[in-house]
Each structure stands twice: as C-alpha cells, then as structure tokens.
Symmetry: C2
Subunit: 190 residues, 2 copies
C-alpha cells in the first residue's frame, strides 16, 4: 500500500484527525515518514487535542496524549483518557499513550499531553525517563511542571486554545467526572 | 449455579488459587459470601502471591494485587503485573487490580500488594482514596510506607515468605526486567 499522506501533503485539520484516529501500527503504511518531519510541536499538540475531542464525543474525559520519537518525529504511541470508555479508574491521556507505545526507551521520546499532568502521571513520566514533556493546558490545571523540571525533564508549555475551551466546557458539563478522574470516586461529593 | 466454595469449605491453597485464577465477576456464583468472611488478611495476601506466581509462570514480573470491600471482605478487584504479558510499560499489580475493580469508591476498600508500592502506585493509592494498604514484601523493596501513612492511609506490613522468596528468585533470574518494571527501559544498562 502506498502512503496517501506524503511529504507534499498539506498539514490540514482533516489529515491530523486521520492520524489521530488511525491505529498507531497502521501509520507507517498510510503516512510517509517525511510528513512527520514537517509537523511542528503545535501540530502534534493538535493531534492530542483531536484525541481529546474523540474521547469527549464518546462521553469520556477530553484528555489526549501523543508520544513521538525525538529523532524521526514519528508517532510511537497515542491515546486518550478511558475512565468512562473502559470503566478504568486510572487510564489517563499519558498512560493511554504509553500503553499504546509499549515497552520503549522513553528517554528518546517526547510526550505531548493536552492537560497538565496529575501527580500520578507526572511521577510516571519521570520514572519512565522521558526527556521532554509538552503541556497543552496549564489554564485548567497545573502544578507538576516545576517538579518535572527539577527531575531534569525539559518541560514546555504550548497551550492549545481549542483544547482549553473543550476542557472548560466539559468541566462545566460534568464536574463530578472531572473530580473522579483526578481524585477518584471517593472524592466526589466531598 | 450453586457455589462450590461454601462457608464450610476449608481454606486450602487449592481453593485460594481457584479464587486467584477465576474472573472476579464469576466469584459471586462460585464462592459463598460467608467464605470470604473466614479469610484472614494473610489469606488475601496469599491470593495476591498466587497471582504473582501466575505472572511468573507466564514469564512476567511476579507482583500481584487484591482489593477487598472492607465490610463484606469480598474481592472487588485483583490482578498482576502485565509488563511482559501485555507489553505494557506501566501496569503494576496495584493498577491491574484497580483496572479489574473498575470505577469504585476505594475509600471503602483495602488493597493487598505483594510488593511495596513504587512511587507511581503509592501516589495513585492516595489519589484514589484507599483507606488501607497491606504490603506483603518490604524485604525486596520499600520506601513509600511512610509517605502513605502521612497521607492518612492505614499501612500494614504482612510479609508473605513465599512471595518474598519468589520475588528474590525472579530478581536474580531477570535483573533487567526488574529494573525496567520500576524505572523504565531507559534505566536498563545504565
């Protein structure tokens, strides 16, 4: 099969959404390697936000994550929160992307997350040795960026306004789900 | 279907292993509720160790977890590490048991883990509001018991010698897998 997304392809929202929704293992047959080299950090954050949108559309928490290889810029893992979809009390955007990536040396990768990582994910990010984290929303939540930097990880803030708007909308619509996702069902109503 | 494990059944290694290996959703049709009330904390730790043994037999990391309801003592979730089995860079004994339990109010439960929780799992345990943690092995690893107590969680040490022996054997046989499971592939060989 010849890749239909080539290095000549324009970077459009539609193509980024195709990339977000295709299984990671299929990307290499659909997307030419050089296309990924054209993508900016903001484009990868867009893919993460499109995954957050997918989760929102499924009735879940709109938080997405994308992991890329630092050298090739190819996506090695991606995913979104599955609290609702998998009835999973802890599968955040970051862990979903890591699960998709499998057993990798994450020190050679960058993780893009649409929302400032929670305490658990921040701890996981440094314990798995990521070299770089790009955070798409510190407006709705923040706190662990300093700790990650202290651990020697490069942390960049690259806010995506659509992602922020989506998260704020969801939080107003489903405040209890937002609390459960961060602090567990034990915290809801307390 | 009539439960074949009743309140009159003797607590044997074979019955505990049956309970470890059956899907949690099937337990209520196989085990009479009152049988669980007969089980001591050491018995639940045995079930967690039998799950660790199952993981070892599958070529994986021998760490298991069991979550019980504090009042009924019934098992609501259980599992074992799946680094190897699912190629998952972070699904420890504790998260595996939580995933199995689904979205629950964990403040009403106790989690039994065969190995002292890593930084990520310890953070998750307090963020999900567990009231009590029972740790089966602080000989091979430890460190977060004090932090969990500071967070107001009851932490009990109930070492299981078979579990400790199993973990030490595995660590000698597969030291790189042990490192990867705690610190990620980035830390192996460094």
């Amino acid at each position: 099969m010849k890749p239909y997304i080539t290095k000549e392809s324009l970077v459009t929202e539609q193509l980024l959404n195709d990339i977000a929704c295709l299984p990671t293992s299929d990307l290499s047959s659909v997307v030419e390697d050089d296309f990924f080299k054209k993508l900016s950090d903001a484009d990868f954050m867009r893919i993460a936000v499109l995954l957050a949108q997918k989760s929102y559309d499924e009735g879940g928490c709109p938080i997405g994550g994308v992991i890329i290889d630092n050298e090739t810029r190819k996506i090695v893992g991606k995913g979104h929160n599955t609290l609702v979809q998998e009835n999973n009390p802890y599968n955040h955007g970051e862990t979903s992307a890591m699960r998709d990536a499998g057993r990798k040396d994450f020190s050679l990768t960058t993780i893009f997350t649409t929302l400032s990582p929670c305490d658990v994910c921040a701890t996981l990010i440094y314990m798995r040795g990521f070299s770089r984290v790009v955070v798409g929303n510190i407006t709705s939540a923040s706190g662990n960026e300093g700790m990650l930097r202290e651990k020697g990880i490069a942390v960049e803030i690259l806010e995506d306004q659509n992602g922020i708007t989506l998260y704020e909308k969801y939080r107003k619509e489903k405040p209890e789900l937002d609390i459960e996702d961060w602090k567990g069902l034990a915290a809801v109503g307390k």
